[in-house]
Amino acid sequence: MLTIRENLLETMKGGNPDRFVKQYEFIDLIMEVPLGLEFNYGQTWKDHWGITWQWPEGQLGMFPVHHDGLAVIQDITEWKSVVKKPAIATSDEAWAPAIAHANAVDRKEKFATAFFAPGIFEMTHHLMGMENALMALYEEPEAMQELIDYLTEYELEFAAVMMEKLKPEAILHHDDWGSQISSFISPEMFEEFFVPSYKKIYQFYKDNGVELIIHHSDSYAANLVPYMIEVGIDIWQGVMNTNNIPELIEKYGEKITFMGGLHSGTVDYPGWEKEVVKKQVEETCKANGHKYFIPCQTSGLPIENFEGVIAYIDECIDEMSKEEF
């Protein structure tokens, strides 16, 4: 029997895995990275960029708030006067929990994986609101390019510290690039504004020893897959069924692996039902096969909202492995 790590690599190269990869099993995720992210259930707060967030009680996630003058950037041409890079923690004390975790990872079995979020695209709309960010790409492209370059610079500075402290073998990087049915921007616009930044960021990680770039975007983004490959993404996590995953595997599988196929909203819900989950796992495993594909919830973290879902999905994947291998 292959190790978890070997099984993943066989899956990614279209070789001979001996079972399905079970969701995030190959990742030992170091969430202790001092990114400055806050998750304050039931509260409203400002983060280290000055972005206001709300996490309503009873809801599964938090949202940036831009109404009533709360957006950090009110006028994109004036962004330099309001956007200031937060200080990056560099002390051993700040990194101690993350370092301890990184050192404890069994790297023969799993990839020590550092976490980074939010990505460049998300940062632009967190700072000024989605509509303004998207329109600014047309109306003030120079200012937007400058802002994107500035955000890229911050990510690279953070990456340098993170690589030195943790020496991770993989990066799980979040940046949602689309809705369920389309990418937010055209491939041409994506190429012009975001591909150069991601090339720099992901190349930096690769140059410093990272073996796996796992990019999370739980969305449609089939039209961006050639760029994902170009910027160095090894695994697209969050791929939804709206993308026609079998077609993507056929076309691009040798260059990128697709991880998803199980929409979190339809498996991880209040009072989730075993038969519903089992059916979806069966469908995604049968439709997408075991080469270049990892059955996984589209959620960007290996956590569940409703107790027991992850373990049951894993159980169903085990069943499928018995059936298909």
Partner: protein, 209 residues
């Protein structure tokens, strides 16, 4: 190319800085304000179709809607008091517990561009607030409810049912990522649009425009 054709092209391509002047030129050339408005509405119809088919993306739709609003600003004083251009009032909001506003904002823009007077209640709107808004506004012909989370689907159902209890004949349209035609039928909504691009056509169909 006629002046009206110029306006159409400028709206479709989202040239918001040039539309106002083009609308004024069309008026100066003798085109009727209603004809110019109809042309812009038609342009936004094209934009909506292109968005639904994946030919264009959100930024292109946003800048087209902005261009149209610049054109409408020029027409407003000319058409003041002429209610014939309005399809009626539409109340719109994202349902209780849900703070997503992007899709809702796009639909507001598309319906406004199609000729509805929009009352945007924002996000996290309790069911009762939709009913109050129907009561407080004139000539309400449609209520649009958006829900983006599977966890807020019950709130969507509650909103539709509360509106229908208070105003049984009011047309209600729903949408949002987890919503389907089947779910819309199940909760008693009159209509469903899978995306912002197709929302205007569906809304007009529902009110018989």
């Amino acid at each position: 190319m006629s002046k009206i054709e110029d306006v159409k092209v400028l709206v479709e391509t989202g040239k918001s800085k040039k539309v106002a002047a083009a609308v004024q030129e069309a008026l100066d050339a003798g085109d009727k304000a209603q004809d110019i408005l109809d042309a812009m509405i038609a342009s936004m119809g094209v934009v909506g179709d292109k968005f639904s088919s994946g030919e264009i993306f959100v930024p292109e739709m946003l800048i087209a809607a902005k261009a149209m609003s610049k054109g409408v600003e020029v027409l407003k004083p000319v058409m003041a008091g002429d209610g014939s251009s309005s399809l009626g009032t539409c109340i719109m909001g994202t349902v209780a517990g849900d703070l997503h506003d992007i899709g809702k904002n796009l639909v507001v823009m598309m319906l406004e561009s199609a000729g509805f007077d929009m009352v945007d209640l924002g996000v996290d709107v309790p069911a009762d607030k939709f009913v109050e808004a129907v009561k407080e506004n004139n000539n309400v012909v449609l209520v649009a409810c958006s829900g983006l989370l599977t966890t807020t689907m019950p709130a969507l159902k509650e909103a539709v049912q509360t509106i229908k209890e208070a105003y049984p004949d009011m047309k209600v349209i729903v949408g949002g990522a987890p919503v389907t035609q089947e779910y819309a039928n199940e909760i008693g909504a009159d209509g469903y649009a899978p995306d912002a691009g197709s929302s205007a056509a569906k809304a007009k169909e529902l009110i018989g425009a």
